[in-house]
Amino acid sequence: MLSAIDLLWLFPFAAAALVLRAKPELARKISLLVSLASTLAALSLFASTLSLDGPQLRLDGPSLLLLPLVTMTISAVLIAAPRWELDARTLSGLLVLLGATVGALCTSNVLQIAVFWAISLIPLQRSVVHTADRPLQRAVHVAMALCIVPLGFALGAMVFHGWREGLASPWDLAVLRAAGAGKLRDLLGFCVLLSVCVRMGVVPVHMWLPFVLQRAPLAIAIPTVLSPLGTYVLVRVGFQLFPGMYSAISGVMLPLGALSSIYGALLVLGQHDSRRQAGFFVVSAMGAVIAGLFAQEEHGVSGALLYHAAILVCVLGLLLIVWGIEARLGRSDQRRLGSLVRATPRMATAFFLLSAAAVGFPGTATFVSEDLLVQGVLHDHPAVTTVLLLATALNGVSLIRAFKRIFLGAPTVHSPDTRRLDDLRPGERGATVMLVVALIVTGLIPAPLVLAVRSSVAATLVHARDAD
């Protein structure tokens, strides 16, 4: 039975069908309108839930936090993207992605989550299928298979098990949680974890992520790679349905998170291509998120969710700027850039602020969330904390170095001609200002965000401990 909240995902799907038949300018306007309306609705839901103090409808802390993030990502891409890259198929893909992600965040039906999870990957597949890049197509297909099949199998098996047990609504998350996973608990839990790790880009199943970000069309690649669905499914489904198993493997997942974090940071350090660098930065950050989540401690899990949200905002902003440079100069290789600040001072300022925020500069949301995350992990795992801090330091060096290589320094023979280079266009400026303001405001006044995720995180952890 559909309710008012389902309009949040139904509208984007309907609009996706509509824009395929509309004229290009009208299609863009429809897409922008739908995404902005979704953002407003998501922010209203977040604000209203804060005042009501507790989970509402089918939303809980993580979904309330991640909903505005998803809608904001799509809106920012639509606002800042070069017009010629937003053809009808791309716009439709973006709206499908929006609908599918919002749909997965707004439901407690595990089958619906699995279906939306799969649908959210289709736009990426459609965007690369027409390219002549065979390795890219292969990477996307393998990643899709590893994302969709294990999760679909696990959730399907859970529902089948519930149905055989005679449960009234075997697809409902709360019902399944009460019933337990049965004999195949470990296998199903592993399947969910595999899909989540692939989606988040956790080492060693991360390779598709930087590759796709480097080679695929950015309009679809950005929101797909930056989708928070991996973390969401882990917290909402994995921790709820397999609490005992996930507690048991935390001893493996925490070092894996630390490894992913330092591995990503090492690769960020050696990159010349800004898009690939952003990809490895996401891998590094997701390692920290995994470590925070598997610390199974309230600060760690809350911090990981907030950190994920903050990092995605930072990377989104950085990628929009890199995209802007690429659209103007046709290159994202830092060795062939440099001294852009004279022509694009606002772009340089925004890039610097987002880089500083990405590495946890005080006064930004990343600082607060990183502090919480590290406090959560530190208690029982000081070695993991040390590795995470080292990775953060390396990432800081790499990102600020990238800023200097792109925007500062004397022009060389490889530097582009910047005489006719435009600074941020109004759309780009609007999107980057929105992201920077969001990072600073939530960094200076973090209490509402912390409050929003805390209650549901605490409930999840209590359930996990009971299951133990």
Partner: protein
């Protein structure tokens, strides 16, 4: 009542005013019309004076409090269950001396820079960064917890990096700034780890709670050494101590006023301040104290010898600063904290003045010689005559090569990390692509090295 209600707000205003000023200048410059020099200077003057008066009020309150430490708390920045980031301030003799020194030197910097940077394209940027630095530095010295100290520490670090790259249209300053950044970021891990271990041991990093209670006695001996060494590592980075001090001579690429206030006056002494502040924690750990003394003395020797082999005034001053700060480290390690504080204040004032005078070094030297004739200071090389020619040559070579410290770090730390990164990247590309990336026509471009010899060394070579 004063301490509980008004004093926390007054103390918070000391770093708060400059930060508000920096944000205001930043907001104005983001508008389409660039603010005039007069407007920027007026904003800077007002907020720096207000901040200085705040520092004076803190000193006065400390005096009225019987010169006892004041523990003032403003509430929590954020709180989650049993953990919260407390906005605590701590006013004692060290904080008062440092806050007044910071206020004074920044007012002098303002006065100097308004004229010195007149019509410089980066005038607005310079003042925004100086005000941000003022806020960060006052947060660092008045903050009442290692958490808040870290926030100020980070602001000081990032403003330092940006001011080294102030003349960003040249390659040298940009490379120097990257070098500063790498050292700062890696050494900041020490401060973070120290703070986290304190959290683990005491569930707080607020000085008043740490120092009032059992002090370091509540921790295991191993934990005390670990925290002490972590804090030492952080202090080494910010104060350019052996073996991570190679960034300081390079940092002279920024404007004279920022070099004076950062590397003559304040930022370079932040490490000494950290050691003074954390002294109760490592006071009963001889291993940590010995490490501090060794680091300080080795740096003092290297700084003094290397400084004497430099040809340009700014670099020679930078090495002289290294030497003096090294001595301050040794004083902290030996437990002479009052002497170290006095040394810090006196050295900061003298060095600040010397850095400001460097553009007129030649004029000063000629004028001195005209009035005093040739003095012992002009014949510094004569001091080496007591040594044999081979020893002198050997020492000179070591000094000119800065004792091979950076070359060793480059060979054994930086290059292996970069090689590992390149090897992993190659593996990833091979697995995903089966070969090199398409359209990679930039692969022939040699990237800039992360470590670059300073200008003076190049000239000498």
């Amino acid at each position: 009542v004063l301490v509980e209600t008004w004093l926390p707000r007054i103390i918070a205003a000391v770093p708060g005013f400059p930060i508000i000023g920096a944000l205001l200048i930043g907001a104005l410059s983001l508008l389409d019309r660039r603010p005039s020099e007069r407007t920027v200077a007026r904003i800077a003057e007002i907020v720096l004076w207000l901040s200085f008066f705040g520092a004076l009020a803190c000193a006065s309150a400390w005096g009225h409090h019987g010169q006892q430490p004041i523990d003032a708390r403003l509430g929590y920045w954020f709180k989650a269950k049993d953990y919260g980031f407390e906005l605590a301030f701590y006013v004692d003799g060290i904080a008062v001396a440092m806050a007044l020194l910071v206020g004074l030197l920044l007012l002098a910097t303002y006065k100097f820079s308004v004229t010195y940077l007149h019509r410089e394209p980066g005038f607005v940027r310079f003042f925004a960064l100086i005000l941000a630095f003022a806020g960060g530095m006052q947060t660092l010295v008045l903050g009442g917890s290692f958490d808040l100290l870290f926030a100020g520490w980070e602001i000081v670090g990032i403003t330092s990096v940006l001011l080294v790259a102030f003349f960003h249209e040249r390659t040298g300053p940009v490379r120097a700034a990257i070098r500063v950044l790498v050292t700062y970021r890696l050494c900041d891990i020490g401060l973070l780890l120290g703070a986290l271990w304190l959290h683990q041991a005491y569930h707080t990093t607020v000085y008043a709670d740490l120092f009032r209670g059992p002090g370091a006695h509540g921790m295991t001996p191993g934990m005390v050494i670990a925290v002490g060494l972590a804090i030492l590592f952080a202090a080494m980075g910010k104060s350019a101590q052996f073996p991570v001090g190679g960034w300081l001579p390079r940092a002279m690429e920024g404007p004279t006023a920022s070099s004076a206030v950062f590397y003559g006056g304040l930022s370079v002494h932040a490490g000494v301040y950290l050691l003074l502040r954390a002294e109760p924690l490592y006071a009963h750990a001889p291993a940590v104290r010995a490490a501090i003394v060794v680091v300080g003395l080795v740096t003092a020797a290297i700084g003094t010898l290397s400084g004497q082999a430099r040809a340009d005034a700014k670099t020679a001053l930078a090495y002289a600063t290294l030497g003096q700060v090294g001595l301050m480290f040794a004083e902290c390690g030996l437990g002479f904290t009052r002497l170290a504080l006095l040394h810090l204040c006196a050295h900061a004032l003298l060095r600040y003045y010397q850095f400001l005078r460097t553009p007129s070094t030649l004029e000063d030297a000629l004028s001195r010689r005209a009035n005093l004739g040739v003095t012992a200071a002009d014949q510094r090389a004569a001091r080496w005559e007591g040594l044999g020619i081979r020893t002198r040559r050997y020492l000179y070579r070591l000094a000119i090569e800065r004792f091979q410290v950076e070359a060793t770090l480059e060979r054994w730390v930086v290059r292996p990390v970069l090689r590992l990164s390149a090897a992993l990247d190659e593996l990833e590309r091979h697995l995903m692509d089966g070969g090199p990336p398409p359209h990679d026509d930039a692969s022939s471009i040699k990237p800039a090295p992360m470590v670059q010899a300073p200008r003076s060394a190049k000239r000498e070579a």
